[in-house]
Symmetry: D3
Subunit: 220 residues, 6 copies
């Protein structure tokens, strides 16, 4: 299941990120996945101050976003990183690793996030394609928009045919690692939020009872 | 969790069952649990026509009862049986067996049911006591009333101090064997039933989506 | 995850089904889901011989299809049924019920199947849209093609704007009810099939070992 | 399942807590659950030294209590807090939240604990009532007594009709979050403890083997 | 975990089986596993009356054996079959299939069984070797003895270097498919059986309570 | 399942450990398991510098060993400790505790490890015997060799009949606590490693997809 969060970055943040991107230092994308010959991209150098500034902005935007919190049930967020695809670059079909070596204990990647920075009109190709067996979902978001999708999928970035695709990517460990369980809890939370004022108090207590117990049962 | 279904048997059914009980043949309760020295009771002989008639009445009453179906999610119901406790009789603390040898494949006992036949004013003692650690729930129902409780508990029938306690007992295999999961589905079903007319259609679809998927996930 | 099986029905079967559809008797689609006000469609009368003939053809086509068997791990298949959407008809967002009352014990619907009968050029609208949160997958298949998708999703049939959309639908209980687990087993099966001749024998034994144990662990 | 631990607080501790309660600062109980209109109570201000002193005493009493440790399998204990119900006050039916924002990572509330401070003869009403469907367990403990019950239940504090009900409450994250699994491990531990000297050594090894493996399997 | 049941077949049964084996018709062992080039053995023809007679004897011996029932928790047993390994024959490392096409619904193979018919002194080699990573357990049983081992393992029959190895094999679907869970229940059952007379009645009730609930929880 | 890692300690490390052992201080083995009357052995004093030095060497050897990492999926390793069995000493059948009090949060013992230090020719008896029901695996490794086996088993050290058995033991918490699940992941990892260069790229992506998702699903 997907969540597209329009305007995750506000105009000021987007401007600051674009500026950081200009002065940022990039390294070969293979650094974070050396064994994948289909990864042809550049990623921001995590030691570079401009990259760090952009990471902070993205992190802050995530932490204040209610949609994201209701949908992902975030426990930990990996440091966001620039990924840049010039003409002809791509990232072939792959699956995100289960555990990222972050801090003292590995971060389990449950949900993947791409924040689009480039104006979609400025480049051709470069869609994020999530494979769902014989079908696929292709996404090319507006600048400042974020897409959240399950890290459990096989997905790819299609070759950029012109222009440059600049995005920020990150990975989130959720309180609720199973995708379907996370979706069910999200749905119940939405019902509670939307019916909050109309629903009979006793029924609201029942809904709270179910939600709290599913959270206990499914968190890991 | 408990469900007390008042008037599970209607007046006609109760009268017919009481009449059957009078002519019924009883055997030593140890027949169905020979290793338990604390079981001092009599049970109806399953081969006796009067017992079979009472069983049919009880079965039919269960199958039409909506409360029971919403709460227990029944898949199979064991043949109901009379249990009779004369003065001084009791059934010490025990747990119901997991599998009853019923038909071609064993019936898993998830929910236990006692239908009270005697007028509670006609006997002293004989409460059904369900142990919950340091606390207990004691139940003595009106004639025709049924109590449904998890077969997973340790429970007992306290000694009858005067009169006679006549009940019908049975065991149900549920679609949803785990007690807490069954309770959560029951609660969501109640919310759907009670809010059905007021709730926004989109939210109702979300609720259906959650309920259907929990049923798939938890049935066994 | 989706499987699109092109030519599930061969030319002869498609012709026979189209002919059956002409003489078939249809009833209001609400018959199989009376509480959903957004269901505006017609379904084939299960008692009608023409409908029964089409059901047999579809069932037979499914049972011989290797792609379907590898992807769905079918245990039981519900009787296939015509669904017909004339102009303006639709089936709003809904989720398929968890259990269908089929035969002696309910059939758990794990995978839903639509076999397209009408030529897609002959009607406008009428796409099957599977909701995946903020994104959706829309499918309009060639005549004779089948699409398999998880029954666990919220999905809809968009309004038909011209012509008539005729499909056959059915529901399958899988040996492997969990969607992700089913996908992982399907992927391992594909690796085994595709690498079968090249892979070292010892590694093939390891792969068989993993597949057999996952089947044991995940079947329900 | 319930555990009633008599004299969790010894006479000295009880006296010290009562004294702390007198000088303690209280705030509106809604502070910890602002959305529940049925919560009419006062809670101790966590920043107040008298409250902190009482919390330390309660924590220390819990940490030395063997019954509590055998029954709850505690991993983390939330800071205990005073709750005070004057005349007419109550806390309507509710369920405890699944995760409390304690320290660096949220504390999952698996078991709830009420330590009774007021003499039960000094107030009318104010029972803790734990709902179990159609039945309820009502508890009003002696001063110094603690009751432990599953946080997963819907429960309430009935209106105080006279006097004042003062309690200390806390929430515990268990090594074994599932209630039934926790109960089974507790029961096996009791058998091991009580039969320890009589049981054949080989059987004791088998019991240890089962207990250790269930702990591994069920801890989360 | 393994169970070696000495004298599963008594002397009369063993004699009758040996006699059946003499007149039995054998077919290429590849018939039941055509894709495994390492399977060089012969199996009894299931349509042959002598094979059917031996199968009946083995089945009957299994059904009366308490050790087997306590250890395996059998639900269904596949028709036993002769397997014969002449000089040079073997069955290379393999894993038993998860589901056997037996009757109306597939039989899940949880436990594998070999009943040794040949006198172990009459043939060299031919040990059943169960691989446990870097170690292996090798078994060559006396005539009439049965070995039960998890179907989940990789195992092999080593080449026969002289004489003939005749065995009867079968596969059992257990009520408790997970190996460790089955072992824990078996251990608790042994404790209950061995301590039965000495154990305090209350502790016995606790043990029954645990066993019954684990059976409910783990059966599938 | 077992892993025997030959030469876990290289010659220099083995020499240094042997030297440490000579000057090390030992205490009664009952210190770490006071309730087991069958434990007759000595363990290294954790406060002794010679013991600490040997522990560091063993830890370092484990951390660089690829076989160990691929097989155990280690998260945390307990401080290794000397165990010394003089003539007549033994450690009767027992099961390792589920949780060791290590650091701030208990370490779950999933895999047990014995590193053999004495030359096996220098002592008689003293085999590590892992019970698997009616069969057992007996292990006596070369100096410097390590054996890894599930902590979930009942196992023993047989009486030393002559000489001295010196080993280093430790316990590992795995990312994948369930034994069978760990074995399946190990097997898939081996297939990936061994077929890595020959396998079709698409199939390799499928294998990565399965491995990453099983790691997410099974880690705890």
């Amino acid at each position: 299941m997907f969540l597209r969060a329009d305007d995750l970055l506000n105009a000021d943040e987007l401007r600051a990120v674009v500026e950081s991107a200009r002065s940022a230092k990039y390294v070969d994308g293979k650094r974070s996945n050396p064994h994948n010959p289909t990864k042809l991209s550049e990623i921001g150098d995590p030691a570079d101050p401009a990259c760090q500034k952009a990471a902070q902005i993205a992190l802050h935007a995530l932490q204040r976003n209610e949609q994201f919190k209701n949908f992902v049930f975030p426990r930990r967020i990996a440091v966001p990183s620039f990924a840049r695809y010039g003409m002809g670059m791509k990232y072939g079909a792959h699956t995100d690793v289960a555990f990222l070596p972050v801090g003292q204990q590995p971060l389990r990647s449950d949900v993947s996030c791409t924040i689009f920075i480039s104006d979609p009109a400025s480049y051709e190709g470069g869609e994020l394609a999530i494979m769902l067996g014989s079908e696929a979902v292709r996404i090319k978001g507006d600048a400042g928009t974020a897409i959240f999708y399950p890290s459990t999928t096989v997905h790819e970035v299609l070759p950029v045919r012109s222009g440059e695709r600049l995005v920020i990517i990150t990975f989130i460990e959720s309180m609720i690692p199973d995708q379907l369980q996370r979706e069910l809890l999200y749905s119940l939370g939405e019902v509670r939020a939307l019916e909050g004022l109309r629903i009979d108090w006793r029924n609201r207590v029942q809904l709270e009872y179910v939600i709290a117990n599913l959270q206990r049962m499914w968190s890991r």
